[in-house]
């Protein structure tokens, strides 16, 4: 059964009908595309799950704000796809840390329960229920809307070429650079070294360039059709050694969004907690099960 609900109430009704018929439901969220007024003070905006990120980027740009550097494939995703997919809706910040791109989510579980998390920078109020949707591929719950974190449109953007002739040392260079407090927008690996993009205030970018060394270049990321995936550092190290074309987007010390000619290799194992969560949120199996 495929539905295209106009709002959350309609989606809830569809889930209940599917549960009563013991049918699986495929949900098209293209109607959930509202955009609230941007809260400039907090640099956040609440938007519907069906909104595409490139559309949100246009809205944010009017207010002098941005989602930050994202690969073209991610910008073409809806908010729901970005949050629920392999990318998990995480963004890298200064220091190589990852933080959720959404400060609050509204979701509906397979059992039809609507849950809203509190909009705020961080909390210590128990279990983080945004875990129901982040990276869940819509198998336990579906994102319906979220409060998205934005950042200032950068004053300065530069691409710097860095000589790291030995491929084996590139991964270490990238990690040490992030750990030192540099935020990298993207990095492209090639035999002659690394091209890395930096953006932010003039002064910050100048300081980062000074720390990194290297020279300005006008080389831009590839526009070729490349496969997008999130990968952890052991795999990134292997990719750096072997792939002819490899881009690392918004890298963090945990993982990177990579663009490559080859798909990422992920472990197939699933945590038992995932199964427990699935039973707790979608007891009738309306939202289907992930492929093994």
């Amino acid at each position: 059964m495929i539905v295209r609900p106009a709002d959350v109430a309609a989606l809830k009704e569809a889930l209940q009908v599917a549960a009563s018929r013991k049918q699986q439901l495929t949900v098209d969220r293209r109607e959930l595309v509202f955009v609230d007024a941007i809260t400039d003070h907090s640099m956040t905006v609440r938007v519907g799950a069906g909104l595409r990120l490139d559309q949100l980027e246009i809205v944010a740009g009017v207010a002098g704000l941005s989602l930050g550097a994202l690969p073209p494939e991610v910008k073409a995703l809806t908010l729901a796809e970005a949050v629920e997919g392999t990318w998990r809706g995480m963004r890298a910040v200064v220091g190589g840390r990852l933080e959720p791109m959404c400060s609050a989510v509204e979701l509906i579980t397979g059992d039809g329960h609507i849950i809203s998390t509190h909009a705020g920078p961080r909390h210590a109020a128990g279990i983080d229920l945004s875990s129901l949707v982040c990276g869940g591929h819509g198998h336990s719950a579906l994102l319906t809307s979220a409060t998205v974190r934005l950042e200032l449109v950068p004053e300065s953007e530069v691409v710097v070429h860095v000589e790291v002739r030995e491929r084996a040392k590139m991964a270490q260079w990238l990690r040490d650079t992030m750990s030192a407090g540099v935020r990298l927008d993207w990095a492209r690996v090639h035999d002659g070294g690394l091209d890395v993009a930096l953006s932010g205030s003039y002064r910050l970018v100048a300081a980062w360039m000074s720390f990194i060394g290297g020279l300005k270049t006008d080389r831009q990321p590839s526009t070729d059709e490349l496969l997008l995936a999130e990968a952890a550092w052991p795999e990134i190290e292997r990719r750096i050694e072997t792939d002819d074309t490899l881009e690392l987007w918004r890298p963090s010390l945990v993982s990177c969004v990579i663009r490559s000619e080859r798909p990422a290799e992920h472990q197939a194992s699933r945590s038992p907690l995932f199964t427990m969560l699935k039973h707790a949120a979608d007891s009738a199996g309306v939202l289907g099960s992930p492929s093994p």
Binding site: V93, G96, R97, G120, I127, D128, C134, S271, F274, A280
Partner: protein, 478 residues
């Protein structure tokens, strides 16, 4: 360290204690313990070092306290992945000592660092004083291992692909799903340089605006703390010259007549006449004008100094007066002292507690005003702003009150809490930024859960079918 518990202890009316305390040292032993607890329906209450201030480790109806301090391993740092595995029972100071010896830091420095454990940090979503740069504990953790209430040992994947990030389901669960045994964290090289700055503002509003602008412009100071005028006068008025002092606290058993009897009586009498009339004290707020901001940047010198210069310009733009590096250096020297000062106020018959929430920037000042107004009749209130992010920050209220007798003190404490939480939530804050929920904020959390209660209950049944894991805490019923 739960303040209400300390009030109960002072009145010698502690609720029924735990039946047994155990010190397991392996997951195998924990699994055996779960089997016994399930068979006899005995509550299992995880325990780290007891610094929690929300009653999360109190035994409500007996049961088994599971002291996890024997899970005390600190692994070697994996330099290629910037990770380290640490046992749940390791004390914070030990974590830093062990990592520093290898040239690394976790970057997690809660005030309770000497008396809190890794497991406790994870269970309550703890934050350290350098969270603006290094993040809260949930930002640092990559995966956790736990023994669930089913007896099953689970380890969450460090990079969840094709499944929700289940690590974040155990982080913040306060022992209600299982017993955390170890976790893997991101670590950082020890910062090679540190820069200190301090400022005075004519108003809280200007100081808050300065912090907001710093984070809006992408700056990430390790420490940023703005004290409101009262807090500046009482706590934040640090010396402009750092003073290295070593203070010792005399244990009650070694105190003389003056310290043991006379001084507490005098302090109690003074407290009742001052802290017992908080409205009068709080009205004095208007006589204090200056708010102190301290800022510390750390990292590679070229980056830290650039960020510091940028932050300095933004502070001046908001009307700040630069007051040198002394207050920030002084704060760093004394940053853990406050934990050891609370006992004096308690011994004088008062209550003293702290209340920490977080709010988006557009709500921060209304939360500040609302909470202060709401508690003004019950407690003398101080506040500082810290743990800042691009989209908001934490407000940390210190609340001190008194009464004619123990019953009145406790009644005022209860009313103060109810007023504080209600006002904070109504003004747009959450119920906790980094102390957790425990018993203290359980009802406040539960009342805002809505449909989430059903999902949490179902998930709890999956992980803990017999309801033995820390019952009655977080959002659950006894």
């Amino acid at each position: 360290m739960w303040p209400l518990g300390l009030l109960w202890a002072r009145q010698q009316k502690i609720p029924s204690p735990a039946d047994v305390i155990v010190w397991p040292e392996s997951e195998h032993e924990l699994q055996a313990l779960v089997v016994v607890a399930r068979e006899h329906r005995l509550p299992l209450i995880p325990y780290g070092a007891g610094s929690g201030v929300c009653g999360g480790t109190w035994a409500l109806n007996g049961g088994i306290i599971v002291d996890l301090k024997r899970f005390d391993s600190v692994g070697r740092v994996d330099a290629s992945s910037h990770t380290v595995n640490i046992g749940a029972g390791v004390l914070g100071t030990v974590v830093e000592q062990e990592l520093n010896a290898q040239g690394w830091t976790l970057g997690h420095f809660p005030s309770s660092i000497a008396m809190s454990t890794v497991g406790g940090w994870l269970a309550t979503r703890s934050a350290g004083q350098c969270s603006s740069r290094y993040g809260k504990i949930e930002d640092m953790v990559r995966s956790v291992r736990a023994v669930l209430g089913t007896g099953e040992v689970v380890e969450t994947p460090s990079l969840p692909t094709g499944q929700p990030d289940v690590t974040q389901l155990l982080v913040g669960s306060e022992g209600t799903l299982g017993l955390l045994t170890s976790a893997t964290f991101t670590v950082h090289r020890v910062a090679p340089s540190r820069l200190f700055m301090s400022y005075l503002f004519d108003s809280v509003e200007k100081g808050v605006e300065a912090i907001r602008l710093m984070f809006r412009h992408g700056l990430r100071p390790a420490v940023v703390r703005l004290y409101d005028p009262f807090d500046t006068a009482v706590v934040g008025n640090h010396s402009t010259e750092p003073v290295a002092k070593v203070k010792t606290v005399t244990p009650p058993s070694e105190r003389g007549f003056f310290q043991k009897v006379a001084l507490p009586r005098v302090l109690k009498a003074v407290s009742q006449r001052t802290l017992g009339r908080p409205l009068l004290l709080n009205a004095l707020q208007g006589t204090f004008k200056k708010s102190r901001l301290i800022v510390i940047f750390e990292g590679e010198e070229v980056i830290a100094s650039t960020e510091a210069a940028h932050a300095h310009d933004l502070a001046l733009k908001c009307g700040a007066t630069f007051t040198g590096d002394g207050p920030a250096r002084d704060w760093l020297t004394r940053r853990y002292d406050v934990v050891f000062k609370m006992h004096r106020l308690l011994e004088a018959g008062n209550f003293v507690d702290t209340f920490e929430v977080a709010a988006p920037w557009d709500r921060v000042l209304s939360v500040y005003d609302s909470v202060r107004t709401a508690v003004a009749s019950w407690a003398f209130v101080l506040c500082h702003f810290s743990h800042a992010y691009a989209d908001g920050c934490s407000l940390y209220f210190s609340l001190i009150g008194s009464g004619a007798n123990e019953a009145e003190v406790e009644a005022r404490y209860d009313r103060m809490w109810s007023a504080a939480v209600g006002a904070a939530v109504a003004a747009g804050a959450n119920v906790s930024h980094h102390h957790g929920i425990g018993l203290l904020k359980r009802d406040a959390l539960a009342s805002g859960l809505g449909d989430a209660r059903h999902v949490l209950a179902a998930f709890k049944r999956q992980c803990d079918p017999d309801g033995i894991m820390n019952p009655g805490k977080l959002w659950g019923t006894t």
